[in-house]
Amino acid sequence: MNELKFLRTLAGINLASAMEYRASFISQIVGMFINNGIYFVFWLIFFDRFGTVRGYNIGEIYLLFAIVTLGYGLAYMFAGNTGGSLAYLIAQGRLDYYLVFPRNVLLHVVFSRMVVSTIGDVTFGLIAYLFTGRFHPLEIGLFLLSAVFVALILVAFGVMAGSLAFFLGNTQYASQQLNMTMLTFALYPNSLFTGAARFMLYTIVPAAFVGAVPVRIVQERNGLLLLGLAGVAALMWGLATAVFYTGLRRYESGSAINVNV
């Protein structure tokens, strides 16, 4: 439980640090809200014009957006050091800071950055859910739990994307794009993709578990599928931990640059 108390303090200090600049704090949140809103408007127009496309209608989109934005918001509100920023820390030798403390390095690193704009995502996700009209307590419960697992999966994926830097050098941009790819795929109706692309969405870039699967969980009130999602989250965390710590053995702490050649 010490770990939780520590993470809570870390989140608090992150928030305090972000609020030092109030104007940019607010404009970032509002900006993200607009950003999500535009995509939302696109889908409103889209389904208004075309009706049902491959089994997806506006109702599914409300739910999809609610889950993905809430999950993404929760993930990056607390655990922002994944993907590109994790790769940057690794490549620049900035992990030193975390390594001298008597704490779990992975958790400490990942939870040390708060992406302020995610407050906009969380609010957006909750508001989008209101549009679905699904107010049965069971559905609300499944929705919130799914969002938590989505957050866990996104963080685990981001850890793996960022850990590439241990093996390949400075992968900041590639790691960031991997995270972006995951998120973009999750936000499109899963039924658009067939064949190899579909297989990929359940394996290499497991965006289906972030978007399509949680949507089904809520729609079908499928508790069993929720358990499956929890299993995927656990599996991905196991993988992410293994990749990160395997990489850590190769960590160079920026020392290689200073060595006499």
Binding site: T9, A16, L99, R103, G169, S255, V261
Partner: protein, 328 residues
């Protein structure tokens, strides 16, 4: 009876470094067939350090100092060899060891930049799982020792370098580490701030028996703080002994830069035991061993030659001393 704080034997660290020939053609070739070269940062280092000792660990840039410290604090995995810090193997027992060591890396701040130092202290209390009452007591004690009470509420970005360094060191001492690694703690500081930091380090060592592992480029830090010096170069240990012995042997060489008011003829000042490094139209650069020839004697003889405009006496730079030791 003190135990061993650090026990290192045969420690080795190598890195794979990508090579690239200069120019566009080199870049092009590096894209398709990158050449990798193995570079040795630390090659077979062994030494021990007793609890309560102060050690100055020095060497030129790129000698392997930081790499060694990083292996001893569990940041880097070694490529070979053994090390034990307070009985733990740093890269295996990193977390447990973390409770007992403190570190200050002069160029890598630990304090949160946009927040007052006090906030980082509180975070550290959580990180090290300190009892809150004990934490407050310890903090108040350190705040008084470093005289930083008036700085605690100011965002770190607004502090001067010296003020910031004092807060950095305070932060790393909150959990009463048994050994503290200080990497260039006085870099860029003014004389007063340097002295304050040296005093505090001495105090810690004397009162709390904290083992101090120090790297510095400042000869003053080494002379004033540590009784023992280890010098490394090219990843190898080239000197391990008392600071006083090092001084007797190597810090006795002095350099004098003189500028005369009149033009030199070219045949002045042929003194036994004094080497002329450089001879100009108006100036001379000399080097001598102050054990063989006393400083006063050299100065007197210089003054006797011609009226002087300026005289400057200095120790040779640390890098040169190290080179001398290395060649010896």
């Amino acid at each position: 009876m003190n135990g061993l704080a650090v026990d290192v034997s045969g420690l080795v660290k190598t890195f794979q470094v990508k090579q690239k020939a200069p120019g566009l053609r080199g870049s092009w070739r590096a894209v398709w067939q990158p050449a990798v070269k193995e570079v040795t940062a630390v090659a077979d280092i062994s030494f021990t350090l007793e609890e309560g000792e102060i050690l100055a660990f020095i060497g030129p840039n790129g000698a392997g100092k930081s790499t060694t410290i990083k292996m001893l604090t569990g940041i880097l995995y070694p490529s070979g060899g053994q090390a034990s810090v307070l009985g733990y193997t740093p890269w295996q027992d990193r977390r447990t060891l973390g409770f007992h060591i403190g570190s200050v890396f002069g160029q890598k701040p630990q304090l949160w930049y946009h927040l007052p130092a006090e906030d980082t202290f509180r975070l550290f209390a959580r990180i090290y799982e300190l009892d809150m009452a004990a934490f407050r007591q310890r903090r108040d004690f350190l705040v008084e020792a470093f005289d930083i009470g008036h700085l605690l509420q100011i965002p770190v970005r607004k502090l001067s370098l010296g003020q910031r360094m004092k807060c950095e060191i305070t932060a790393s001492l909150l959990h009463r580490p048994r050994i503290i690694f200080l990497d260039e703690p006085t870099i860029g500081l003014d004389v007063v701030a340097k002295q304050q930091i040296r005093d505090a380090i001495t105090y810690l060592n004397e009162e709390e028996n904290t083992t101090i592992f120090l790297t510095s480029h400042d000869a003053g830090d080494i002379e004033k703080l540590s009784r023992r010096v280890i010098i490394i170069n090219h990843g190898r240990l080239i000197y391990d002994g008392r600071t006083s012995a090092l001084k007797r042997q190597y810090l006795t060489r002095k350099r004098i830069d003189v500028r005369f008011a009149e033009r030199l003829n070219g045949d002045e000042l042929i003194l036994p035991g004094v080497t002329i490094l450089k001879r100009g139209t108006y100036g001379l650069k000399l080097e001598f061993d102050s054990r063989a020839v006393p400083v006063e004697q050299v100065v007197q003889q210089i003054m006797a030659v011609k009226p002087t405009q300026d005289i400057n006496i200095a120790d040779p730079p640390l890098e040169e001393i190290i080179r001398d030791i290395y060649q010896a």
